[in-house]
Point group: C2
Chain length 499, copies 2
């Protein structure tokens, strides 16, 4: 995994323009319907600074119903003002993400509450050490491009949660870190810790190594008052933020996929209007997270084909507006890393990536409809993402790859391509070789214990956790953070430079 100075076969940020689940006509109709929805049905916003900002900008407010109606020109203005590229930085600049156009990055996500214990396989509550250790895995795995904190630290009080989560993530990976903040105070603390690690508040502004995800909407079309306040503060601080709305088709949005897309798109556009009123060209990423309610039970469902299509369609919508997109894949509904988890992840990740989604979170580690993570699942999903990113890269057609001379030479010569110069040259550039998936014949596989991919991945996860060393933060910085904040993560679970 962490070997190669060789250039990657599947570098982060390749462009995908391959899969379009919406026709041009369908795309336009969803766009138009979203504008109609904002103008006619509007969004629910309780009396607040947010509502005042909308009103001052010219939105019609029905105070008896607490609804804000956004006229079409205001939406168009918001889209025009919106940032067309958002750069998310890593502590190591090799991990910077340039979210724009059809560039594809895949990383973690979720707020899982349980983890499958790496030794026993039993389910247990997640704690802060899991945030740290998962960060270390993400740091080591090449096809997980960023670290959105994946689970809840149940051993942190509400007051300590935000800052400790940010600290545990930032000190275990030099990839970009995205967090959630439950309060404005929590957000300020996370920003402060990131600024200390970045060197200064200005350095953080220049290279944002931290960003936020904000679930400011409660579907359908309602703003969550406190979360909006936090979102407003983050935008004022010029820190990147993904505005995430997550309607569930059949429960909190229409059962029709097109209707759910209309609603999530309207929610997103309202957020683009709002954040760009707070700060024009704010570093905001559209966050489409439509899911499905299994209408037999009402259960949240993330592994369905309907989910996959809606996320690919979201990428098309973002590209239509030219605004970066945050969405999801690889949320399996299986309770363990079995064949169900495999196909649900394969299908949803391929769909989202081939459509050119910019920031595909949830794409590693998750099981049980987002409730559970598993260490070995990160290793497995790294291989899945490698395969998906190979498909993103596509098929290069050049005079050289068309290979007419090679074929002619082999047909008139030895009859085999294995030893040709071209084969040797392409071995390390044309193919993604999985690190954990097994391609051996049965006899060879039996000789090493007939282990399934999950078992092999467990070993890899253990090995990474035992030996991988992320780029450390200076000890002085760590001390300063610990003096200012009540950091409960033991120093040995953070990468700190020896003095």
């Amino acid at each position: 995994m962490a070997e190669a100075p060789r250039p990657s076969v599947v570098p982060p940020g390749m462009e995908a323009n391959w899969y379009k689940p919406l026709t041009e006509d369908g795309l336009h109709r969803i766009h138009e319907a979203s504008l109609t929805l904002l103008e006619r049905t509007g969004i629910q916003v309780l009396p607040s600074e947010c509502r005042d900002i909308f009103k001052a900008a010219g939105a019609r407010v029905d105070e008896s119903k607490d609804r804000v109606f956004i006229p079409r020109p205001m939406v168009e203005d918001g889209i025009a003002k919106a940032a067309k590229e958002v750069v998310l930085c890593g502590r190591d600049s090799r991990h910077d993400l340039h979210l724009t156009g059809r560039k594809v990055y895949m990383g973690t996500g979720g707020a899982a509450v349980n983890v499958l214990d790496l030794e026993s396989g039993a389910v247990r509550q997640t704690v802060l050490a899991d945030v740290a250790r998962i960060g270390r895995l993400v740091d080591a795995l090449d096809n997980i491009h960023f670290y959105l904190r994946a689970c809840v630290a149940h051993d942190c009080s509400n007051e300590l949660l935000d800052v400790n989560t940010a600290y545990a993530a930032l000190t275990n990976t030099s990839k970009h870190v995205m967090v959630n903040a439950f309060t404005s105070k929590g957000a300020f603390e996370c920003i402060d810790v990131a600024a200390m690690i970045a060197g200064s508040r200005e350095a953080l502004d220049a290279r944002p190594i931290i960003s936020f995800t904000s679930c400011w909407v409660v579907s359908p079309l309602r703003y969550a008052p406190e979360t909006v306040e936090t979102l407003t503060e983050i935008v004022r601080q010029n820190i990147p933020v993904a505005i995430s709305s997550a309607p569930q088709a059949g429960a909190t949005s229409p059962a029709s996929l097109a209707g759910t897309l209309v609603q999530v798109n309207a929610e997103q556009l309202s957020g683009i209007v709002y954040t760009n009123l707070v700060r024009p060209a704010a570093r905001v990423i559209m966050g489409f997270v439509p899911s499905v309610a299994d209408l037999r039970t009402g259960n949240f469902t993330g592994g369905a084909a309907e989910f996959a299509m809606m996320h690919a369609a979201s990428a098309q919508l973002g590209q239509f507006y030219g605004i970066p997109v945050y969405n999801s894949s690889a949320i399996s509904d299986s309770k363990l890393p079995d064949i169900q988890a495999g196909y649900e992840k394969g299908i949803t990740s391929l769909a989202a990536a081939l459509a050119g989604s910019n920031y595909i979170h949830h794409s590693a580690g998750l099981l049980e409809s987002m409730l559970t993570v598993a260490y070995e699942q990160y290793v497995i999903d790294d291989d899945i993402n490698g395969s998906v990113m190979r498909a993103v890269r596509g098929i290069e057609v050049t005079d050289e790859t068309l290979a007419l001379d090679v074929i002619d030479q082999v047909c008139n010569g030895e009859g085999h391509f294995l030893g040709t110069e071209q084969s040797l040259a392409l071995m390390n550039t044309e193919y993604y070789y999985p690190h954990t998936a097994d391609r051996r014949r049965r006899g060879d596989w039996e000789e090493t214990g007939s282990r399934d991919m999950r078992e092999v991945a467990r070993d890899t996860a253990r090995e990474i956790l035992a030996i991988h060393k992320p780029i450390p933060i200076p000890a002085a910085v760590d001390s300063a953070i610990r003096q200012r904040y009540n950091i409960i993560l033991p120093p040995e679970l953070a990468a700190i430079e020896d003095q």
Copy 2:
């Protein structure tokens, strides 16, 4: 599985126009290079009727090198003459396949030599009873649309193999059956048995319930003399045939994906020219089966992203010519139904189907790079195919699905979509509900034994084999077949009408 008179959410033969791994320019360059290859490098054909047919039509023959060079106008003529639709029938006309355009059908394939025993899980050689029992599974599973015999009957002598395989398949499913014939005599016997079941040779001509796959090419660009003879006889009999060429990138074709596509396309076009010389508008399906050699070991690899892309590209090539395409997906390199098998199948099947491949064989049952099948894998792959076919169906955008009124009503009313008329109406039409994948929460799942998908699928496979009754063939027909041929399948393993 076999319940519903309700219309299917994912009917066979839906059209897919969603995924295009080749740009227009890339597609044209591959086409042009293929024509150059046929003209300049040519194909190896030993002295034979086939070579005489090529020569008589105007191909240049280099007798010292046994190579046939096909001029560009001859290829264009072959493409023009070729059948643009091939209909493959089932004993039950509900299962007819109309191979044309971008219609998608998914079914079995392979010539596996081993099976994972349904009870012990241990690997053992396949026998004729497996051909029969797998046919019965295929008959019961809605998202496996045809039965290409999937494994080798090791208990049949060479002489009995073809006819017994055809009998075992045709008497266990009313879906379309495709077989291989190792000799012309074997092909005639299969056709005869099918004609007896169809009612007459004319009835079979009108409704071909049997077809063949012919591996007449040994890559790179060599015709296999005896197989070509059999192919020629099948075409003369007007029985549908998929001409299958299966180069392995890096071993029997260039390591570059584009080069492998050029070669397989040239092989295919030569076959289209040849079969249409034998019989204009012959019922021929282009059979692209490019695979990958893992260049670290030389092993055949079917689960790779590179495989997935080449098969989607093959669909584009077939659509470019307007000729139906047979290709592959779901060939996992895993030795058992684990998470590796899941993601490899999910990725390769989604890619092939979204590209509009007409006849995706191998898409159920296979493991271990085609060497092994497993009963439970058919059940699992039926769910995977259901999910994939849901993505093929796409997102319907209409005034009704845009759902502006429903959203407005919910936002101004009860705030929830679960009870709306639309949700109730769409429950049975908008969503594919898996029969075996598990969407329950952990507690519910633990209460029923914490079983993974493989274990549940085993039960389903056992249940189908115990109770499913395919449409039987008349006892008189069975007697007549058994009088004419040495059928070693016990009658109780065939569906025969009680007298």
